[in-house]
């Protein structure tokens, strides 16, 4: 365990050093929120991929395949579908407008401060849900690997994360994301051959899985409608989530974005596929886990040698950190730029940055309080992630994606779509059928409100994004 502790400590020191370095080179708000908007395709793609690979990938996906079988793996097709859509449909518009945040983009599209404020508030609500999943996963790792209580692990993890994100902003997040992607790829690249070696190669793996859980490759564990709607949720979760969209602003131009998106989805898809195979191995190697979410931490704890296990744990931690830091940044920008900044337009950039940093600390602490209070207890990590993607997709798909093409859409329609999508999604999660992911009713309600309410109001005079 000493080697693991040393590797972990070294990793955190490096991340802090990057945060501190970025604090020193951050000159203005543009540097802090979108890394100056000058990223190349490797750094831009890496930060997209690292943000995509969250606890949902490393802990949640493995947990679902461990529990429900391979059919869930087909969800991975949502990644290239979503990124292609991002590059082909949204990137041209985003590259033109170069705003600092998604709510600012929506304000420019609808010429409405209310749209900006409401979207910022919705982002904050959804982010709390997503960060909850990441914190739960961090608690599991601390519990299994270091033997400390999940609550202590969650508190320690949140403290480290908030400190470097608040310090360094997007520049810190981009550079640490790159480091974290490298660590993630290295971690699974080492774990896969070792897992296969234990079971006699890929054919041995299939034989073992077939013997121990013969329905693994069947389609029984998820009804088709559930799989399809989960796929929609993940696709929309990639297309319409602010932490991904804002990365389009961070890259310097459209050709760079297209290359960066290719880099991102090849990296994210490859990472997922390798992790899926590792998940199959865990079905055989650890047949009696209390929760599937423990499968990947157990790979690090009991499959890999100590030093390599520490590397994989650093990878899992990286995945969590690279996602949460991005979310925190979005939350901070929503608070400082889109809420505080619009209520106090005369505030200096320095004051707005300070509010953003404080906001990051506050928004980062809220999910921890919820988790420790028992909210969402017992839910598989991936299903918490799924709720976040459903909330984001339901709220923002219509105003962002349809909005860039349909010039007849009004601010009233956008407001109704965002609020209606979010509320429907929550209501379906609480009272609706478990066989249909909440994203579908949420999306249908959101689009219906968007179109219906827009048509009730007079045609807007100008379609902003085309004029920029």
């Amino acid at each position: 365990m000493t080697a693991q502790m040393a590797i972990f400590a070294g990793y955190f020191v490096l991340v802090f050093a990057i945060g501190f370095y970025c604090l020193r080179i951050t000159r203005d708000e543009s540097d802090y929120w979108i890394a100056g908007g000058k990223l190349g395709w490797i750094l831009g793609g890496a930060t997209l991929a690292a943000t995509h690979a969250s606890a949902g990938t490393f802990v949640g996906t493995v947990g679902v395949i461990y529990t429900h079988g391979w059919s869930f793996a087909w969800i991975v097709l949502s990644i290239p579908a979503a990124y292609w859509f991002l590059a082909a449909v949204l990137a041209p518009r985003f590259a033109k407008t170069k705003e600092l945040t998604l709510p600012a983009f929506l304000e420019s599209r609808y010429r409405s401060l209310a749209v900006r404020r409401v979207s910022a508030a919705l982002i904050l609500v959804a982010i709390v849900v997503y960060v909850q999943a990441q914190i739960v996963a961090a608690g599991l790792i601390g519990n299994v690997v270091f033997g400390i209580s999940p609550t202590s692990a969650m508190i320690g993890f949140t403290a480290v994360l908030l400190a470097y994100t608040a310090l360094g902003g997007m520049l810190a997040v981009v550079y640490t994301d790159f480091l974290q992607l490298v660590v993630m790829v290295a971690g699974v690249a080492v774990a896969l051959p070792l897992a296969l070696q234990k079971l006699g190669g890929i054919s041995g793996l299939f034989a073992a899985v077939h013997a121990m859980k013969p329905d693994t490759f069947g389609w029984e564990s998820f009804p088709p409608e559930r799989l399809v709607t989960m796929g929609i949720a993940f696709t929309l979760g990639t297309v319409a989530t602010p932490e991904k969209l804002v990365r389009l602003y961070a890259m310097k131009d459209l050709p760079t974005i297209r290359k960066g998106v290719l880099f991102a989805f090849v990296a994210a898809t490859g990472l997922n596929l390798v992790i899926f195979v590792i998940a199959l191995a865990t079905i055989v190697l650890f047949p009696a886990l209390p929760t599937g979410d423990l499968a990947m931490p157990m790979v690090a704890r009991a499959l890999l040698p100590p030093v390599l296990g520490a590397l994989l744990l650093a990878a899992i931690t990286s995945a969590i950190m690279s996602t949460v830091d991005s979310l925190m940044l979005v939350a901070g920008s929503a608070l400082s730029h889109d809420l505080f900044g619009t209520f106090r337009p005369g505030a200096s950039p320095g004051t707005r940055l300070l509010v953003g940093r404080i906001g990051i600390l506050v928004v980062g602490t809220a999910p921890l309080v919820l988790v420790v209070s028992g909210v969402g207890a017992g839910e598989l990590v991936q299903f918490i992630v799924l709720l976040y993607t459903a909330l984001m997709g339901s709220s923002f798909f219509a105003p962002v994606v349809i909005g860039v093409y349909w010039s007849r859409a009004t601010k009233e329609g956008a407001l109704a779509a965002m609020a209606g999508g979010l509320v429907t999604c929550f209501l379906w999660k609480a009272f609706g059928s478990a066989d249909i992911d909440p994203v579908l009713p949420g999306l249908v309600a959101s689009i219906a409100l968007y179109v219906g309410v827009s048509l009730l109001f007079t045609r807007p005079p100008e379609f902003a994004p085309h004029t920029n």
């Binding site: 793996a73 082909a88 190669g201 054919s203 299939f206 290719l262 047949p287 009696a288 704890r301």
Partner: protein, 192 residues
């Protein structure tokens, strides 16, 4: 039904033969009369028997490939905590761990411990689980928060299995993703 603790001890002879004892402490509700179990590595398990509080239990077992599964009949009036012990013979590593069909309980340090005495002069290399250590008496010892499927050290990988077809759902997924990447590259080169 809830797993509280599991302890495995084994002693291997120079011939590679060994005797395994696997003790479980279980919380069981009143009225439970039978208990299922399974293991990965059926071909290595011989002479399987089970006792509860010193009383021999009737067990049925079935082997399908490397999977062993079965049911044992608990003594009448069995109460919590139930001390259940499996005994079986193995030949060399890996040593399969028989998993009882109960709720695993919360993962915590030391929920599963194992100690395997090796013949003198064995040059072991801990293989799986990976964090095993050689104790003062020269035995290999493990402590884990959950049950592993088997214990192994120093032996070559299992020979590739035959007779199981690669599921289409597996390679099909990889092929579709590769095709999408190629299509994207073509699109990217032609996009204005």
């Amino acid at each position: 039904l809830l797993l509280v603790l599991a302890l495995l001890t084994a002693r291997l002879e120079a011939s590679g033969d060994g005797r395994v004892r696997l003790s479980y402490s279980l919380e069981i509700p009143e009225g439970v009369s039978s208990l299922g179990f399974s293991a990965f590595g059926a071909s290595a398990i011989e002479d399987l028997s089970a006792t509860a509080s010193g009383e021999s239990l009737v067990l049925s077992q079935e082997r399908s490939g490397e999977r062993l599964s079965g049911t044992l009949t608990l003594p009448k009036g069995a109460r919590s905590p139930l001390g259940l012990e499996f005994q079986y013979r193995v030949h060399d590593a890996p040593i399969p761990v028989i998993i009882v069909d109960v709720e695993p309980g919360e993962a915590r340090s030391g929920a599963f411990t194992a100690r395997v005495e090796l013949p003198a002069g064995t040059e072991e290399m801990v293989d799986f689980p990976s964090h095993g250590i050689r104790d003062d008496a020269g035995a290999l010892a493990w402590e884990l928060p959950v049950l592993p499927a088997f214990l192994s050290w120093g032996q070559p990988a299992r020979p590739p299995a035959s007779g199981v077809e690669t599921p289409f759902a597996f390679w099909g997924l990889f092929a579709m993703n590769a095709a999408i990447v190629l299509l994207y590259v073509v699109w990217m080169r032609r996009a204005p």
